[in-house]
Subunit: 202 residues, 2 copies
Amino acid sequence: MKIYDSKTAPNPRRVRIFLAEKGIVVPYEQVDIVSGQNRSPEFRSKNPMGTLPLLELDDGTMIAESVAICRYFEETHPNPPLMGVDAKDRALVEMWQRRMELEVFIPITQVFRNCHPFFKGRIPQVPEWGEVNRKWAVDRLAWLDGLLADREFIAGSRFSIADITALCGIDFGKVSDIRIQAEQKNLTRWHAAVSSRPSAKA
Amino acid sequence: MKIYDSKTAPNPRRVRIFLAEKGIVVPYEQVDIVSGQNRSPEFRSKNPMGTLPLLELDDGTMIAESVAICRYFEETHPNPPLMGVDAKDRALVEMWQRRMELEVFIPITQVFRNCHPFFKGRIPQVPEWGEVNRKWAVDRLAWLDGLLADREFIAGSRFSIADITALCGIDFGKVSDIRIQAEQKNLTRWHAAVSSRPSAKA
């Protein structure tokens, strides 16, 4: 078993933190996204989407998509639970994970993809769309700050995959100058707490 | 228990098909998205995102996000399984569900949101971004056609939530003139098969 990884991209970090929280050790193999190794025919034979991270099982099965990889390890290593503990809780954690993805992580990565020189010539960039997403992301950070007024973590009282998605999205915002504002006390408190967990350095 | 639903939007259809496949009957309450009932303070007190569908449990818990709602019913009514049968399979179904969402459903809905008069004045539209997504969606339908050459359903030999996401996305493409092409024989065969299931009319 191994995971194709990139230390500089935000999605692979989601899986690294998830595994660190569970205390699971899997060998990582770095794939160089700057030179486009992830878009090479060899890598695309493993994952036609060319995305990272990618989990290769011992039987040769390839599992792409960060949350699908996390699902695999949640099933095989249930403790500590990071995706909920019963039917209702699992649905609520999934709701919050998706909200963090759709409202925070994706808008922030859309700013980078559409506005940053890194993607120039790699994908069709639409800077106007990037700016729409910048405003969206900034609005959502303010919303998150309010949400965190009466709860310790995004999905409630327990650290979950929703916190991981939010952390990786927000930290990746720095490269596009999207940051938690000083007056956002709840979000600042949450960010300090999740960043101080050993997993955040994974 | 009830589900806030819209007969005209693509996301609520995902949940209706999922429940029909499982033979689960839940009362639906229609929410009028044309007049903006989903963005009213009353509805936002139930779901601050203003999105549909929304599941209200008997204890008052609100579960938003189509896939989170499906997760709840997969947990409470495991048969027939629509999200995989063991750890590896659940991860693979999740991978395919997400690919159908990220590569097919979302690009198709982005065309509608950014190019269609319905959303004019409701959200900041970026038609150029819509056109990028139109090309993306058309490319992905060709990719899907190739994928379906050697498998009956999107995630393999079993009908799953990945088929539901793909079907709802592709059918919603019609309003933006994104359609399966006549030469895409595998995709045409798959679409006819999944459309002929009774659940497709839910």
